[in-house]
Amino acid sequence: MTDAAELRRLTEELLAAHPPATTDRLDFLRARFDAGLAWVHYPQGLGGLGAPRSLQAVVDAELDAAGAPDNDPRRIGIGLGMAAPTVLQYGTEEQKRRLLRPLWTGEEVWCQLFSEPGAGSDLAALGTRAVRDGEEWVVNGQKVWTSSAHLARWAILIARTDPDLPKHKGITYFVCDMTDPGVEVRPLRQVTGEAEFNEVFLTDVRIPDSMRLGEVGDGWRVAQTTLNNERVAIGGSAIPREGGMIGKIAATWRERPELRTHDLHQRLLGLWVEAEVARLTGVRLRQQLVAGQPGPEGAGMKLNFARLNQEISGLEVELLGEEGLLYDDWTMRRPELVDFTGRDAGYRYLRSKGNSIEGGTSEVLLNIVAERVLGLPAEPRTDKDVAWKDLAR
């Protein structure tokens, strides 16, 4: 078993052999991966040492103190958070060796081809078709809300391989080469004026069968690994009082006494209290996880977060009065990183509208809380035993 002392020793060895000050960034990241210090809980040879996940912090702290470059995890979040755990669990040895190293170093960016115009909340109804042709699959369809598609080398893709089975059963999971000539990426401009996301059109895209993850028809189960890891990734870290959206409006309130009215004051205080309670709920949830008693509160955290972001940023626009009539910039842009609390109040107001849609709509999350936490009856399922091709659409 690799312990903290051993990890410290290995980290010092890495730093001695590749001094960050004089080593190329990418060379350093590759060397770190090969030393098993990329993600220590991964297996040996795949960037890890089979060590407990909690010990990663030991390595990160040492490297951080030495001024070593990191792999810019926010830029490659989909690869790290969603693709990697899925490749690790379902990939062949060959797939793991080929894909994980450049994924981790950031040399190859990943995106996720899941949602479709006709399959949002009901993702399992997806209609992108993959048809077997010898040792290849031929894929046709359209995906949407794909972040990083315009930067990505690879995509994780779910497609329908058997329309005669009920919807959950005829899906297969692939790794798609985004440089295939049949892949067309178009920016999807959103209400903020910018385009964080893309539409991806797939026309006769050819995927070798060797790039399938998991068994044919088992794609829905494989996708659960991806989506469960998404929820873990969203779990987040402890925020201080007035962290996030409420801090922005509180600062404006303090700095701009001329904007204050009694009505705005009451509403601000009400939202401040709610934001503080939501923060405490998150603190409590994290303490439960640490104590090994995960609570169901996690299911509700995103509901709080979405509603409060929307209400607080909406109040902020109103507070600004005449300035609230303005917007910083409608120019179509392609931001690489998204900061919900970034830019001005108008942007925050518009961007936060997506918070109750992306990553599970609030309506679906309320169903999940009602059914899984409170044990109330599930929604009637008229599609369960019907062949996908016979579903209403």
């Binding site: 009215t261 209290v273 405490l280 603190v283 309506e363 309320l366 009602a370 009856p377």
Partner: protein, 360 residues
């Protein structure tokens, strides 16, 4: 990480909860509580004797040297959660928390010893609606005797000793037998208020009224949130249970999505209240960030408890409107609690100062 409050329940706290719940399950059933409300003794004195005396809970906040348990507000909060779940008609919050805090502030060791042994029930003679820091009504001190009338005094009917603020700035202990206590017809049937009249009563001066009352009301406000959590938790759980059973239109009523979403939102509010109430109890115990923690909990708790009660009544349908069903006891308690120790708005106003979000 010393600044991080502990928002969980310890094993000891869970054991305490289980003991209190067992007792209440056996001795505080809803039908019994309803029947008692219209009897000569709306308070359940035998239950109080068991809780306070046999289980020693009256002395949780009192040091061991005075015969108490030397525990903290965290444990008292757990007791209040359970008492809230049962809308138990016992003077725990008013006596074992609020009056006890006033006695602790005054160093009134004799009365604390009596309280700890449950031989004496004390009540702070300040209207239940008064918020920490607000102006406190008082009686007149003339020639060493107390004169005047105080109203809205919760649980005064079962108090042996009243802690009375007087116009000389002192807090006086007055034996209930030396005062006239007249029950007022109260919205909350399980925590009735009364009028206290003093006509030349003698009192024993315990100390300065101002700081003692402020400390008592702040602890009361902070721990009231745990009682409100108990109310809301029971209301949600019971209503979910009922709507899984209840069938209309040939299906479980709890399966209608319009109702599922209302339940899910309520659950989320209760989860928030649990965090806020634990935070207030922990802050009272540690003395860290106490004013803000109490004000946040009280600005939030009333809305959740009242919402839970109003949803419970509505979602029970006709049966929820009957005297026979206990939901009205919870509604009345929740609504009265929204006034007790200051309304949510009062606590929100206090936050405006303490977190520097000033009024125009």
């Amino acid at each position: 990480m010393s600044a991080q409050p502990d928002l969980l329940y310890s094993e000891e706290e869970e054991a305490l909860r289980a003991a209190v719940r067992d007792l209440l399950t056996d001795h505080c059933d809803p039908a019994g509580v309803i029947a008692r409300t219209e009897s000569e003794t709306p308070h359940d004195v035998p239950l109080w004797k068991t809780l306070a005396g046999s289980m020693g809970l009256a002395g949780l906040l009192i040091p061991e040297s005075l015969g108490g348990q030397g525990a903290t507000h965290r444990e008292a909060a757990v007791v209040l959660e359970e008492l809230g779940r049962s809308v138990a008609p016992v003077p725990y919050l008013t006596s074992a928390v609020v009056a006890t805090e006033a006695l602790l502030a005054c160093g009134a060791d004799d009365l604390l010893t009596e309280s700890a042994s449950a031989t004496t029930v004390a009540a702070l003679a300040v209207g239940l609606h008064v918020a920490p820091g607000a102006t406190v009504p008082h009686v007149r001190l003339e020639d060493g005797a107390l004169h005047g009338e105080l109203t809205g005094i919760a649980d005064a009917a079962v108090a042996d000793v009243l802690l009375v603020p007087a116009d000389d700035g002192g807090l006086y202990a007055v034996r209930a037998v030396d005062a006239t206590v007249t029950p007022q017809v109260s919205l909350d049937l399980t925590r009735p208020v009364a009028r206290v009249s003093l006509d030349g009563a003698t009192g024993h001066r315990l100390g300065e009224s101002g700081p003692a009352v402020r400390r008592a009301l702040r602890a009361g406000a902070g721990l009231l949130a745990s009682e409100q959590l108990g109310l809301a938790d029971w209301l949600l759980t019971e209503t979910v249970r009922y709507l899984k059973e209840r069938k209309q239109f040939n299906r479980q009523v709890g399966g209608f999505q319009a109702l599922k979403h209302r339940f899910a939102r309520l659950w989320l509010e209760v989860a928030g209240l649990r965090a806020a109430a634990r935070n207030a109890a922990d802050a009272l115990a540690t003395g860290r960030d106490t004013d803000v923690a109490v004000a946040v909990a009280q600005a939030y708790a009333a809305r959740v408890a009242v919402h839970a009660a109003e949803e419970a009544l509505q979602l029970h349908g006709g049966i929820g409107m009957t005297w026979e069903h206990p939901v009205h006891l919870y509604l009345k308690r929740a609504k009265a609690d929204s006034i007790a120790y200051g309304t949510p708005g009062t606590h929100q106003e206090a936050l405006a100062e303490s977190v520097d979000l000033r009024a125009p």
